[in-house]
Symmetry: C2
Subunit: 224 residues, 2 copies
DNA sequence: ACCTGAACACCGTTCAAGT
DNA sequence: ACCTGAACACCGTTCAAGT
């Protein structure tokens, strides 16, 4: 009887759990992901989830990995390594835009699976760029810092609950910045004035390009 | 009667609370900082703290700011902007080594006070470097990413409870890395082989220098 | 083997009541 | 104005019991 496993449109599985978690995170934010909410959505007991996943951290890590794996698989692979690196970076940027809750994990756990996926992809391209072995680690880390730095910014934005509260928080922050002692914080105040008008994505790409320029100049310095 | 305010070696204050919090965080890690533990250490009621500080996030932010402010104040200011930038970066690095729990906040809240302090300091030096206005923001952000990237790494390390558990976790992680499919993760595996032997601080400084090189090459490209 | 859901051991935060 | 500490409204996780 094949109906046995189909009792509830298929039994619980790690994949089903991860997909449900992503649904909650995307719709209601990271604060809404609790084992109670998750088990309600899956029409199961709250303890059942632990049969398939170790704990909450593993759950969020699996959700993040699920999305990053999809991004990496869907990437076009351009001829030039520089373009490939930009493609990876923008892929992560756009994924963060759609799933800002990933920022918290990506920027706080440097050795988890999703980060290793990005690292592998970036590292290979840096290698293809002809960067000498002794600079390979530094160059790749600098690019990862640029990518994960934007993850941190999305994480910060994701922590603000809802749109209304979000804009309230933003204006409160802008007010706080304006009140910074001009004698003590001239640079930050000058920078803050430029923030409202700028395009995040373009800004991010410019940061990646700056690091690429730096890597290039190292390569020129020690040819072969 | 002057004895009135001295009832309990001085009344509660934000500063006393922050210092007690730092004590707990340094000794027992971020997991140990609870309002119950904190109020016990201060010999007060758990609700009393809320009279002086808004909530837990504000408490950790104040603790981080307290330490970073001290670091920035104690900095020697070298002649060359590059040296000044390196001094700021290493100051933050060493503070993170002594107080790894700061990593979580520094790497996750880009607009909090402690981060603004670092940003102000770095930004001024980048300006002194003669970087043109249109590249100023990018150059400073790239340096901040390098500094806050190391904060994230310290945060990850700080989350591991005690030394015994820590080394167990590290070997478990090394084992996990070794088991990564060699066909899928050649770069990560190659990099992992180099990790055990390397000096964190030196590595960090090399990353800062790479970004400085990149900034230099931008400056050369568009003089004045 | 897989699932249930009550129970456990915590949290941060609030607030009526005190001084 | 400042402090007390019980109470509230949650959490993640465990585990005896079921199928």
């Amino acid at each position: 009887m094949a109906t046995r496993t189909a009792r509830r449109t298929g039994a619980l599985s790690k994949e089903r759990i991860v997909e449900a978690a992503i649904g909650i995170l995307d719709t209601d934010g990271e604060g809404a992901l609790t084992f109670r909410a998750l088990s309600a959505r899956l029409a199961t007991g709250s303890g059942a989830i632990y049969w398939h996943i170790a704990d909450k951290q593993a759950l969020v890590a699996a959700a993040t990995d699920h999305i990053i794996a999809g991004v990496m698989a869907g990437l076009a692979t351009p001829r030039a390594p520089q373009d490939a690196i930009r493609a990876v970076a923008l892929g992560v940027f756009d994924a963060l835009d759609a799933h800002p809750w990933m920022g918290a994990l990506l920027s706080s756990d440097p050795w988890q699976r999703a980060v290793l996926r990005i690292l592998e992809n970036v590292g290979r391209q840096v290698q293809a760029l002809g960067v000498p072995d002794d600079a390979l680690f530094n160059a790749t880390t600098a690019l990862m810092n640029a990518i994960l730095g934007i993850a941190a910014q999305h994480a910060a934005a994701a922590r603000l609950p809802r749109d209304t509260e979000r804009s309230a928080h933003l204006t409160a922050m802008a007010g706080e910045w304006a009140e910074l002692d001009p004698a003590e914080y001239p640079f930050v105040r000058q920078l803050a004035a430029h923030v409202p008008g700028h395009d995040d994505r373009e800004q991010f790409l410019a940061g990646i390009n700056l690091v690429l320029t730096g890597i290039e100049s190292i390569r020129e310095r020690s040819p072969r």
